[in-house]
C-alpha cells in the first residue's frame, strides 16, 4: 500500500487534488466544549426569576399604591363635591327672594308706585313717573302664630279703652305709617292706603272688633 499509493498518485493526473484531499475521511473533530462553571447561567436565570418577581412585586405595589391614591382622590373629590354643594346651598339661601327683599326693606328700599320707561331710541319717557312712597311697602313676614286662647288679650282690655283705642288706631293708620307697636306695621299702612276709615284686625284672632 505504501508503495502503490505514491504510484497511484503519480499515475492519476492531479486533476482535483484539492477536492481529493478534502474528501479524505478523517475523524470528526470533537466539538469544543467549554466546561466553564454554571455560575453565569444560574446568575442569569436567578436574575431573571428575581427580576420577574421583584418586577411583579413592584408592579403590584404600584397598582396598590395607585389604588390607595385613587381611594384618597375619590375621597377628596367627594369632600370637594360636598363642599361645593353646601356652598351652592348657601348661595341658594342668600338668593332666596325673601331674604333679598328683607334686606332691601331694611335698607329702606321701596317698590316704585308707578313705573316709567325710558325709550332709548326716542329718548322719551313713557308712563307716568312718580315718586315711590313707603305706602307700597310689602308685608314680608308671616303673621305671628295664633296664640292659645289663654294668652289672647282678654276682652276687657278692649272694653275699657274702646273709644280711645279706636281713635288711636285710626290716627295710627292715617298719620304714622311706621308705627310698629302692633307688630303689623305693613298691615297698618295698607289699611291706611286702601280705606282709611276701616280698621281691620290683622292679627286675625279677634275678627269681632270691627
Amino acid at each position: 500500500m505504501s508503495s502503490t499509493a505514491p504510484a497511484l498518485r503519480a499515475r492519476v493526473p492531479r486533476l482535483a487534488g484539492a477536492a481529493l484531499e478534502r474528501a479524505r475521511l478523517t475523524v470528526v473533530p470533537k466539538r469544543k466544549r467549554r466546561h466553564s462553571s454554571p455560575v453565569p447561567f444560574l446568575v442569569v436565570v436567578s436574575m431573571l426569576a428575581v427580576g420577574g418577581i421583584v418586577g411583579l412585586l413592584l408592579f403590584n405595589t404600584s397598582m396598590q399604591q395607585a389604588s390607595f391614591a385613587a381611594t384618597d382622590l375619590q375621597h377628596q373629590a367627594d369632600t370637594l363635591e360636598a363642599k361645593k354643594q353646601s356652598l351652592q346651598m348657601d348661595l341658594d339661601r342668600l338668593r332666596d327672594p325673601q331674604s333679598i327683599a328683607l334686606k332691601a326693606q331694611r335698607m329702606g328700599m321701596v317698590l316704585p308706585t308707578s313705573p316709567a320707561v325710558l325709550d332709548l331710541r326716542t329718548g322719551k319717557v313713557l308712563g307716568d313717573p312718580s315718586q315711590a312712597t313707603g305706602l307700597e311697602r310689602l308685608r314680608l313676614l308671616p303673621p305671628p302664630p295664633a296664640k292659645p286662647a289663654a294668652l289672647d288679650p282678654p276682652a276687657h282690655v278692649t272694653v275699657v279703652h274702646e273709644s280711645a283705642a279706636t281713635h288711636a288706631a285710626e290716627r295710627g293708620a292715617h298719620n304714622s305709617p311706621g308705627n310698629t307697636t302692633r307688630g303689623s306695621q305693613q298691615g297698618g299702612q295698607d289699611r291706611g292706603r286702601q280705606d282709611p276709615t276701616r280698621h281691620t284686625d290683622h292679627t286675625g284672632n279677634t275678627g269681632t272688633t270691627r
Binding site: 360636598a82 363642599k83 354643594q85 325673601q98
Partner: protein, 608 residues
Amino acid sequence: MPQTRPRGRTGRTPAARNRRPGLAARNRRRSLRGSAALRLRTGLVFIAVVMSFFGARLVQLQGVEPEKYATLAAATGGTVTVDLPATRGDILDRNGRPLADSVEGRMVVADPLQTRAHAAPIARFLSTRLHVDYFKTLHALSQEDTRFAYVARRVPASLAVRVVDAATALGYKGLDTRNDPVRSYPDHDIAANLVGFLGTDGPLAGLELTFDKELAGTDGSETYEVGAGNRIPLGHSTVVPARNGTDLHTTIDEDLQFYTQRVLRQTVLGASADSGFAVVMDRASGEVLALADYPTYDATNPQASLPKNRNSLAMTSPYEPGSVEKVLTLSSLIDAGKVTERTRLVVPPQLPSGDRVIHDWFSHPTLHLTLAGVIAQSSNIGTAKAARLFAPGQLRSYLTKFGLGQRTNIGVNGETAGLLPSKAEWNGMLQDRIAFGQSVSVNGVQMAAAINTIANGGVHVSPSLVQGRARTDTGEVVGTDESTTNRVVSRSAATQMTHMMERVVNPDAGTAPLAQVPGYVVAGKTGTAQRVGPNCACYNGTFTVSFGGFAPADDPRFTVYVVVQNPRNKLGGGGTAGPAYSKIMSFALRRYGVAPSGAQPSHIPTTW
C-alpha cells in the same frame, strides 16, 4: 481540535468516557437523590396528595355548603356592593333657578356597642354640632341588643363627614355616615303648594309626586373586591351605572311667584279671609308664571303646617266664579251675533227666573244700561236677561270651548275639573244663574285661561306649568310642547269685550277703580259669588271675591286672576282683589319691561 484528540485516544470504556470531568459533582448528587424512576414516583405521589387536598377543599367549598362560604366571604369584606344612588332631578323655575334641588347628603349612624360607654359626651357633642335632640341621641347611642342606630338623617355631606371626623379625632368611636341624599327647597314657601315636598321614603305632594318617576331616575350598584378598605386592583367587579333623574323645568318665575305670594298673603290677611289664590299667566303662550296659594307652608318643614294647607287650593278646590264669568257669557253672546258692546238694555230692579227672583248686588230702580254698563256695573239682571237671547245649548257649548268643566292637565295632582252642568240638567233657570257665574264651578287656572282667551283675541290657549314636555307618573304627557289653541270667539267679540272690561276700572263707570295700574290701560272684571258651604248643599252666606283681567289692554301681555275666599271686610271683588291685581300686574309689567303705550282706555257709554 488538536486538544480533543488526546481524550479520544485514551481508550476508556464508553461509560467511563461519558463521565466527563465537569460532571463529577453532579453525579455525586444524583446518587444521593436515588434513581430517576424513584424520584418520579415520589414526585407524583406528592403532587397527587397535594392535589387531592385541593380537590377535597373544592368539594367542601362548592359541593357541601357553598352558600355558607359565599356569605362568609361576603361578610368578611371580600366583596363589597355599594349602591350608586341616582341623583334626583331638580325642579327649576323658568330662569333655571332651583325651586327644589338635590344635595349630596349623609345619615349619621352609630354602633351602640361602641358608643354606649361614652354615650353622654358623644350625645352632647352631636347635639351641639348636628342640632339633634340630646335625649333622643343619648337613647340611640346607649341602646342594647343592636349594633345600628340612626343619629341624624339627611345631613349635608360636608357637615356630616366633618362632624364624624371630629368625633373620631376626639376618640369617640362607633360613628359612621351612609349615603342619604338631601332634598333642598331653598325658597321655603315659594311655590311650595306646587312643588310639593319629599317625605322620608318618597314624594308626598305636588310636582315631586306627579313627576316622581322622571325626577327619581334609577339607582345603580357596583360590586367589587376590597382589601383593608381599598379596592383590589384588577379584582372582580361589576357596575350597573345609575341613571340620574331628569330636571323638571317649570314655567314659574321665582321672583314673580314670590311677589304674588306676598301680595296675596297681605290681601287675604287684610280681608280676614279664609284663603285665596292668584294666577299670573303669559297671554300668548298660556304659561303659568305664578300660581300662589294662601295659606301655604314651608317646604323645608312641612310637618309644621296643616295637611290641608299643603296642596294647591287653586287647582284642587272648585268654587263658583261669580261675576267674572259674565265676561265669558257676554263675549259669547257678541260672538253669536246677538248683541254688541253698545246694545241697550233695560235692567229692572229684579228679574223673575222660574220660581225665584234674580237681584243685583246693589238695589236700584229700573236702569238703562248698555252691554258695557252691564259689565262695568256687574249687573246680574242685565246679564241673565241678555243671556236669554242664546239659542238652546249655545251657552254651554261656548263655556265648554272656554275650557270650563275640563281639567287643564297642567300637571298638578288632584286637579278638579270643576262642574259645568250637563246638557240634560241644563234649563232656563240654570242658564240664568250660570250666565253670571253661579251654579257652575271652576278651578283657578281654568278660569284664568278662560279670561286669557279674551286677552288673546278670542283664542283659547291651554295653560301649562311645565316647559317642554314631561310625563306624569300616570302616563300623561304635559307641558308647553303639548299646548293647544282653539278659537272660541271672534277677534271682534274679544275686542269689544276688552273695551267693556276697560270700563270696569273706570272710577265713574265701573266697580273696581282700585284695580288700575298707573300708566297702563287695564281690562278686568270683578267677581263676588256666593259660596256653597262645606256642610250643606246651599249658599251659606259667605262669599268668593275675585278680580280677573289683563294688561296692557291695547296689547295684552299678562292675565292676572286673584281670588279671595270668605273675606270678612265686605268690600267685594273690586275692593279686595282689585288692589292685589293692580300690584301683581304692575310688578309683572315692570319686571318684564313692558313699556306703557300711552293708549287711552275706552270710553264707550255705559248708560243710555
